[in-house]
């Protein structure tokens, strides 16, 4: 099929968009910011017959408060996330993870849902979304469902989304108690790079300053993002002190299942992902403690 015959459609409702995708018989793709899709089309790794642009559907570019948490429309660009005061206060780690993507120019377009649905093991915003226990809302030809972010990617370039299904929003839960998250990635440069490894940590503190709940997620060290429960268990009940964080580091290094490739050796990734986890946990703890201070 010639790329010259590609169709581009910009429907006004999600149901219409889902129907267009379901009815098409060639290769069909949702277009959000296009910062993955258009690059892949230029590189000739994909030649879609149909592009369904979701940016013109009402709500897709909005951030709204919902059930004590936040709803982020599927086509909200990174730059809007970075400037949202409410999100930054509740989920600083998710916001900093979204801001890692690309450059100023890329931030004007790139969405976190596109980042998730592109299903790269190195996607920068996904570990933070998993650590936040975020969910996504999905509309398909058969109706609407929702599921945890971690259930979406199943391997490089592969997701559990069915034909015609569109993610419509990311839902960040309400914060219970005093908590904060943080996300760090390692790249050889300072920006415009793909993660060699990354880690996101989300902690909740009780009245006494002990960690009462935690989630730890690692990126780019396995085919999909890893939620390391053993690492979270180490944090819970602790005061996030140095010795605890060092144990966290070694548990995360052990949990990683990296490969050797042009971006780094497996040995390097294993070691550095632990460092990222320890540093992210410390950062999350500092943020949470600062919040506790404000409340007191």
């Amino acid at each position: 099929m010639e790329s010259g015959n590609m169709r581009y459609l910009a429907p006004k409702t999600v149901t219409e968009a889902a129907q267009l995708l379901a009815d098409s018989d060639g290769i069909a793709r949702v277009l959000a910011g296009g910062t993955d899709l258009l690059v892949q089309m230029k590189a000739e790794t994909i030649a879609p017959d149909l592009l369904v642009d979701i940016k013109h559907i009402p709500g897709m570019r909005e951030i709204t408060a919902e059930a004590g948490g936040w709803r982020i429309g599927a086509a909200v660009p990174g730059a809007h996330i970075s400037e949202h005061a409410g999100l930054k206060a509740d989920w600083p780690g998710v916001v900093e993870a979204a801001a890692l993507i690309g450059s100023t120019q890329v931030q004007g377009r790139a969405s976190i849902v596109g980042n998730l649905c592109n299903a790269s093991p190195a996607a920068d915003s996904v570990p933070a979304l998993v650590a936040a226990d975020a969910r996504v809302q999905i509309t398909g030809p058969k109706g609407t469902r929702d599921c945890a972010v971690i259930e979406i990617p199943v391997g490089p370039g592969k997701t559990t989304l069915q034909r015609g299904e569109i993610v419509t929003a990311v839902l960040l839960p309400a914060r219970t108690g005093i908590g904060a998250d943080a996300c760090l990635r390692f790249i050889p440069r300072t920006e415009m790079d793909i993660a060699v490894c990354s880690a996101a940590v989300n902690v909740t503190l009780d009245e006494s300053g002990r960690c009462s709940a935690a989630r730890v997620a690692l990126g780019a060290v396995a085919p999909v993002v890893l939620l390391v429960e053993e690492a979270a268990d180490i944090l819970v009940g602790s005061r996030l002190d140095r010795a605890t964080l060092e144990r966290l580091q070694s548990v995360c290094s052990k949990a990683a299942r990296p490969i050797d490739d042009k971006r780094g050796t497996a040995e390097f990734r294993r070691e550095v992902v632990g460092v990222m986890a320890r540093r992210a946990a410390r950062l999350a703890a500092e943020r949470a403690t600062a919040k506790a201070g404000e409340k007191a």
Partner: protein, 746 residues
Amino acid sequence: MALDEYEKRDFQVIGSRPVRPDGIDKVTGRALYGADAVLPGMLVGKVLRSPHPHARIRSIDTRAAAALNGVRAVVTGADFGEIRKGETRNVAENAMAFDHALYDGHAVAAVAATSEAVAREALKLIEVDYEVLPHVTEIAAAMAPGAPVVHAGFVEDSVPDGFSENVTARHEFGHGDLEAGFARADKVIARTLKTAATHQGYIEPNACLASMGPDGRGDLWCCTQGHYFVRQLCAEIMGIEESRLRVTASEIGGGFGGKTTVFVEPVALMLSKKAGAPVKLVMSRNEVFRASGPTVSSEIDVKIGMTRDGRITAAEAELRYQGGAFPNITVMFGAMAAFAAYDLGAVRTVGYNVLTNRPKQAAYRAPGAPMAIYAVESVVNELCEELGLDPLEVRLKNAARKGTKSSYGPTFNDIGLVATLEAAQAHPHYRAPLGPNQGRGLSCGFWFNFGGNTSVSLSVDMDGSVSVTEGNPDIGGSRASIAMMAAEELGIPFERVRAIVADTASLGHNDVTDGSRVTFAVGLATIKAARAAKKELCKRAAMMWGIDEEAVTWENGCAKPSGPNAGSFEPLPIEKIARKSPRTGGPIAGHHEVNAEGAGVSFGVHLCDVEVDPETGHTKILRYTIFQDAGKAIHPDYVEGQMQGGAVQGIGWALNEEYIYGKDGRLQNPGFLDYRIPVASDLPDIDTVILEIPNPGHPYGVRGVGETGIVPPLAAVSNAVSHAIGTRLYELPMSPPKILKAIREG
């Protein structure tokens, strides 16, 4: 030798920083680059490339592609491989494989079609029958006897027995008694150092538009550093006389040496000839990485002996460079440059060129020198560390100076190395305190510089403004510098001069924009052309006044009687003389043609501070200062820009840039995502200290500054990293995994 050109004077325009004349066009999009050329009826060209690093091409079936609706021409090596010999044959075979695909990405066929989609479809219909052959991409493996022979028939007599046929040339330089020298040393260190192949990384991919007429005359528009050389190569490949092909250089989005040859241009011309229509061919970034010319990769053995008080007693190096599947002389430049900064009684360098199944290397800023000098400057620093000596003092103690017999033969004239080292020593950077995990590195650098064939024409327009016509693509602000020199010489404002780069039919031959030659050689020719025009202007003024030509002088843009005896006349400004020119003999112009000598070698010293994260191996450049002799900085912004740009590229080589080949012989990182050049946020503000020690070979004292800047950063960064982590790496790039491993292994 033209070493008496320089005359001391006070400058009006030179040394100021006017706004660059090509700036507005570049920021508004009005500037036309290689891919911007269009002609009516233009076809789209596309190239089919080998997926194999080494294969014999048994046959190519192009019938189905040729029959596709919209396809107007198909070419393969069979359209090219004729009688030519030598480098032009290599260039042609690199542009289109003859009977063997020699590297991953080697062009094997091309099509011209009415649309991009049809061209793409046509490539899929071409059937190439490959007999895949064993390949080799690494130096040591390629040199070993019994290695797969990459490309037979290039071995020169200079190569001794015991190597594979991939070792094509041996070069040797030096003087003195090495054995006696090493015997006098208190400490001798011998190391092997390696550098990776790197790409020039220009932002604009190679692009051209070719139009061949049925009468064998053609036009070519392309982004190049040297359209005269493009014409010479393409005319020879097409089997036509040079005058039949006119080549026009577009604006250029970077070259750094990489655009001093041709890749797609002969293919576009051949497609156009066969199709009978213009053909545009634009390389993708993937093609640029796989099939244009990166620089060589290297393995270098260095052995240096030093006395306890820091005098080098003997120095030796063996350099082994691979530059792909065709021979080149880059290793010769490396062998010549390696020890150029030192005054040595006993020195020898030997260089070997090695063929591999990689793309044909192209020039890259000071070709061959950065790797050689990285190896030498690393070992010199290690000796300083071992002997507890200050690395800057040691360099001063051994520095080459006027009268030094250089390691590659000639005796140096006025050179700025000592002054440059002293400037570094006096600079606050050299003594600034360092924090934990931080280190400081130093390195010298050197490049030969070049003059070359140059032709410039300068015309005084009817209103007294001035047009300068030159033939060297402007890759670093040279139109501004050329216009400034014309303005200075004529005594008129910079704004009244416009410099343009003309096509190959407009001027005598101009060598390529390389060798840091343009501000030096084209500047020199411009000054001489302006002097010729001034002479004519004085003659016309003499006619207008009715006095002797000798009785008129030129000052501040005006003709003046040369003294009281000449008569008393009001000064005649250039515009008045120009307006009257139809009545005094016609248009007024000057021109100058020269094969310029006396370019003057160039030295630089770089200081670099880094901080290394001991847990990740990540290196941050904290502070960077460049000291370099410019002879005379015509437009200081562009001198600084050249120095800073060179440093940034060298930092890239030092930290992350490398061609990565898989076991399958394919390039793994043909894109800017995984080929990591430094981004702006990786770098501090790079400070420059310009020294001005006039070059006797140029009327204003100019010395080329374009290339030396890429030479020192490799060792400056490496020495700084060693200082920070307390252990030394002997291989570039020093990517984080390698640094972390070095830290762990202590």
